[in-house]
């Protein structure tokens, strides 16, 4: 176990090193930071002095080493826009994003496993075909479009009257296809303060309603992907000899599906899932923009617009760190489920 953790830690450091080089290297290519800091009227000599003072004329390696030493202390400098340490700015926005990702992950796990398993057990049922059809649509529609459609239907409301409203059935049908709207679709509402910079939407029912639409639209691509993945894996596992053998032993179908088959199905799903949680964090940029969700994604987009380079770099580093941590956790979980993977190094 210790050996595994040390090995993973080494990997993580290597990955973080590569990310830091890339993040640092783009600094030079994202425009002149001096131009962002000072006004139009500042003469070139003063700019040069400032450049010298900030160490921007030093060789790349010197600059990088300075950056790396500071980064190791979680010091990424000051945000130009907020005039605060960038880590503070990111930490302020981090909880909102993590909560959105957590809600989405919950949604994906809670729905993809039962739907995927069902459509593998009964591949010919019309409900399975329906899920497969919908999932293709879900994968094909970009997140921001899903988000806008969701806002139109559930937040703004749709009143549509293609049927004659003066007849009873027409009015009833019109009511059926029209929606009232009213779901919150802007920001986080009034999150409950927990500690530090962490405010939560999970503490109140009202807070949760703010999460519904952003979480659904963030899940709209990943969920169909996982349904299809679980279904495909499960179909394959159900063909395997050990499932046939379990049948020949007289084991009940429920135990065969949910123990024998599902446990094997989940192995590749967990591997993919680990990578996808990281991707979810990245996808939040789109969702947070559409819903004005005050998370890291929105902050990042803002930072790009304003060339707030230290903030951009900090975001990249922190998202990289989240990737590395989730992947390590997933490998640990994978080792617990798959007995052929030995993390502990105990003699066989």
């Amino acid at each position: 176990m210790i050996a595994f953790l040390i090995k993973r830690l080494f990997h993580a450091l290597l990955v973080m090193f590569v990310i830091s080089v890339i993040a640092f290297a783009i600094q030079d290519n994202l425009g002149d930071p001096i131009q962002q800091m000072v006004g139009q009227s500042v003469p070139e000599s003063e700019r040069e002095a400032l450049r010298e003072e900030l160490g921007l004329n030093d060789p790349f390696l010197v600059q990088y080493l300075r950056f790396a030493v500071n980064a190791a202390h979680f010091d990424f400098g000051y945000s130009y826009v907020f005039n605060q340490p960038t880590t503070d700015v990111v930490l302020r926005h981090l909880p909102a994003t993590l909560e959105l990702v957590a809600a989405t992950t919950f949604l994906i796990i809670a729905l993809s496993v039962p739907i995927g398993v069902y459509s593998a057990i009964k591949p010919r049922a019309w409900l399975s075909r329906f899920f497969m059809g919908v999932s293709i649509v879900g994968i094909s529609i970009p997140v921001f479009l899903t988000a806008i459609v969701l806002i139109q239907i559930f937040a703004i409301g749709v009143s549509w009257s293609p049927f004659p409203a003066d007849t009873g059935w027409g009015a009833w049908l019109n009511d059926l296809i029209s929606t009232e709207g009213g779901m919150p679709a802007y920001g986080r509402g009034d999150p409950v303060h927990v500690f530090g910079t962490w405010e939560t939407n999970f503490a109140s029912l009202e807070g949760l309603t703010y999460l519904v639409l952003p979480a659904i639209s963030l899940a709209s691509i990943m969920l169909p992907l996982f349904i299809r993945l679980i279904r495909a894996e499960m179909l394959e596992v159900l063909q395997s000899d050990y499932v046939k053998f379990a049948r020949a032993k007289g084991i009940s179908p429920r135990r065969i599906y949910f123990l024998h088959a599902l446990k094997n199905t989940m192995l590749p799903v967990i591997t993919v899932g680990g990578v996808q949680i990281g991707t979810l964090v990245a996808y939040t940029i789109l969702t947070e923009t559409v819903f004005q969700w005050p998370g890291m994604g929105l902050m990042f987009l803002d930072a790009i617009e304003r060339s707030d380079i230290p903030l951009i770099v900090t975001y990249l580093m922190i998202v990289g760190l989240i990737f590395v941590i989730t992947n390590t956790l997933v490998d640990l979980i994978y080792g617990l489920i798959n007995p052929t993977v030995k993390l502990t190094g105990k003699p066989a």
Binding site: D241, Y242, S252
Partner: protein, 339 residues
């Protein structure tokens, strides 16, 4: 009445282009403690026959007709729930590839205990006790440790021993072994076969052994069936069939054994290959490959082309072949003339 009576079993696969008949008119029986071999080429329907006994044929396969009577109970019409009480309990199976048969993410103990618990009201402790006892019977080294090991920690031969132990867990009446040694090392094959034979004899368990290894059949079984293209074409006591095969296909099979060829010359073989089940030749399915047909005269040859042969009895054996029928008749006539 025998313990197991299979009559006119008809198994089909519902495919898009229509039903494919995988088994036609298969009849056989098995007495308590008897060992029966089913041989044939790949695709002859051996495995389908084995799986259909417990109605374990994979979709789109289904039993279209015939009956399977086991200990007075008709299995073909039994509900899945009722069949589950027979599976693994009164009739258990051993599969071909031990590397694939055990679930990789469950321990040996879990896979044994769940089988006992599915059929008996029993505590986990008791179930583990029985499992341990069965593991000892199959002569696995350090059986206590095996219970908590995962399949990947065992070799192929040991896994097949575990599978035999699972098959024996509930003291079944019949074990159906679908090519139990095909996937194993040659040196391990003999050990596993000897173990299976010993345990079946000791516990008076009936064995249905599916294999294409005629050597194994002749060593282990008392009676055998030869299958071709979904039909039984010859059946009878193993020794008699091996020593004096009637059907030209069985003769071809035995002739194809390496021992039958002169050293240094090419091995004997049956020309051609088995027809696809969806496109069977008319009459006797074997006639395009049959050496008898070439030698037959016009009207006989026509019969091979047009009519499905009935079983004819020769001694203790039965063979489904027009030529064998003719020979038996012609032998009988000179015999009568001599008297």
């Amino acid at each position: 009445m025998s313990l197991l009576d299979v009559n006119h079993l008809d198994v089909r696969f519902a495919l898009r282009g229509g039903d494919v008949r995988a088994l036609r008119d298969v009849c056989f029986s098995l007495d308590r403690g008897e060992r029966l071999g089913i041989v044939g080429e790949s695709g002859a329907g051996k495995s389908v026959a084995a799986f259909s006994l417990l109605n374990l044929i994979a979709k789109p396969g289904y039993i279209a007709g015939g009956s399977i009577r086991f200990d007075g109970q008709e299995l073909t019409t039994l509900s899945d729930r009722a069949l589950r009480k027979v599976r693994g309990h009164r009739m258990s199976m051993i599969f071909q590839d031990p590397m694939m048969t055990l679930n990789p993410v469950l321990t040996i103990g879990e896979q044994m205990v769940e089988c006992l618990k599915a059929h008996r009201r029993i505590s986990t402790r008791e179930a583990r006790g029985i499992s341990l006892n069965k593991l000892q019977q199959v002569q696995i080294p350090s059986p206590e440790a095996r219970l908590d090991q995962y399949p990947h920690e065992l070799s192929g031969g040991m896994r097949q021993r575990v599978i035999i132990a699972i098959a024996l867990l509930l003291d079944p009446d019949i074990i159906i072994a679908d090519e139990p040694t095909t996937a194993l090392d040659v040196t391990i094959q003999a050990e596993i076969m000897a173990l299976l034979l010993e345990l079946c004899e000791k516990h008076n368990v009936g064995l249905i052994l599916i294999t294409h290894d005629l050597g194994v059949v002749s060593q282990v079984t008392q009676r055998m069936l030869v299958m071709y293209a979904g039909r039984v074409i010859e059946q009878g006591p193993t020794r008699e069939i091996i020593n004096d095969p009637q059907h030209p296909y069985t003769q071809g099979l035995i002739n194809a054994l390496p021992q039958m060829a002169t050293p240094g010359s090419r091995l004997n073989q049956i020309p051609g290959s088995m027809p696809s089940l969806s496109n069977l030749p008319s009459g006797c399915a074997f006639h395009p490959r049959c050496s008898f047909v070439e030698r037959a005269d016009g009207s006989r040859r026509q019969a091979c082309h047009d009519q499905v042969p009935e079983f004819v009895t020769s001694g203790n054996c039965q063979a489904a072949c027009h030529m064998v029928a003719e020979m038996i008749e012609s032998e009988r006539i000179p015999a009568e003339e001599q008297d």
